[in-house]
């Protein structure tokens, strides 16, 4: 495979993942719909695994630890999304809304 990334410095990937991560932070903090908050969390997980893969490719090419971390991140994200969507559907069935600011039953 032609190593295209050879010309691209590592910092480009790190900055890109920082941008994606902060877009995720913004989405989590500002949106009201629980599904969109979950999507922003996925964006943050993706930013983290871009970092992992970038370090695996640039810093230790003979080991594959970063890529294995990325595979584990994808696995955990699949489990997390399944559970979180089940919780959202349950909340929706019980309270009739999927907006996180309207779910305030625990507020005293």
């Amino acid at each position: 495979m032609e190593p295209v990334a050879q010309q691209i410095p590592l910092e480009h990937f790190l900055a890109l993942s920082a941008i994606l991560f902060s877009l995720g932070v913004y989405g989590v903090l500002t949106r009201r719909n629980a599904v969109l908050i979950l999507m922003s969390v996925e964006l943050m997980l993706n930013a983290a695994s871009i970092n992992m893969v970038a370090f695996a490719a640039y810093a230790s090419p003979e080991k594959f630890t970063g890529m294995i971390f990325a595979v584990f991140i994808i696995t955990i994200a699949a489990a997390e999304v399944g559970l979180a969507l089940a919780i959202i559907l349950r909340i929706f069935r019980n309270l009739g809304t999927a907006n996180v600011d309207e779910v305030d039953e625990l507020k005293w």
Binding site: I8, L16, N46, M67, L85
Partner: protein, 157 residues
């Protein structure tokens, strides 16, 4: 180089569109586009196995789950409304970008000589059964627990 910039622009703009766009279903479609862009970035780093896993699991399975969740909530709840935290969140995101980018530029990364590996799937498979066998087995337990938990949570009783 061109591939990197194109894919980076694709990933970042569609990630921004997720937050900007009004319709939640369109947001899911932009999320899929962003996942595909990130998978392309993995290929530019010659991480082919992670890229394929990304397309299969994120762009395939997780996005379908998201679409199900959006479809199962009624139309009135499908708008992409914001709350009053816009300004502090913008400041916080800007701080995150500047801090992480400055650290990334300032740090003297000890880079190895890059070798273009032919295929990463064999090495990842080897590593998963020898040094990482315990996390690998635990991941299967986590998946089973999540599956059972999801079934129990949405069951009619």
């Amino acid at each position: 180089m061109i591939a990197f910039w194109t894919l980076a622009a694709l990933a970042v703009t569609s990630a921004a569109m997720i937050i900007v766009v009004r319709n939640l279903l369109h947001a899911v479609l932009f999320l899929i586009l962003s996942f595909v862009g990130i998978a392309g970035l993995y290929i530019t780093m010659s991480a082919d196995f992670v890229a394929v896993a990304q397309v299969l699991i994120y762009a395939g399975a997780i996005s379908v789950l998201m679409i199900f969740a959006v479809m199962l909530t009624p139309r009135s709840d499908r708008d992409n409304a914001g709350n009053m935290l816009q300004a502090p969140a913008l400041v916080l995101s800007g701080l995150v970008i500047t801090a992480v980018s400055m650290v990334a530029v300032e740090t003297d990364w000890r880079l190895a000589d890059r070798v273009a590996f032919e295929s990463t799937a064999t090495e990842i498979g080897d590593a998963l059964v020898s040094p990482f066998v315990l996390p690998f087995e635990i991941a299967s337990v986590v998946l089973v627990v999540a599956m059972i938990g999801a079934i129990v949570l949405v069951r009619e009783d």
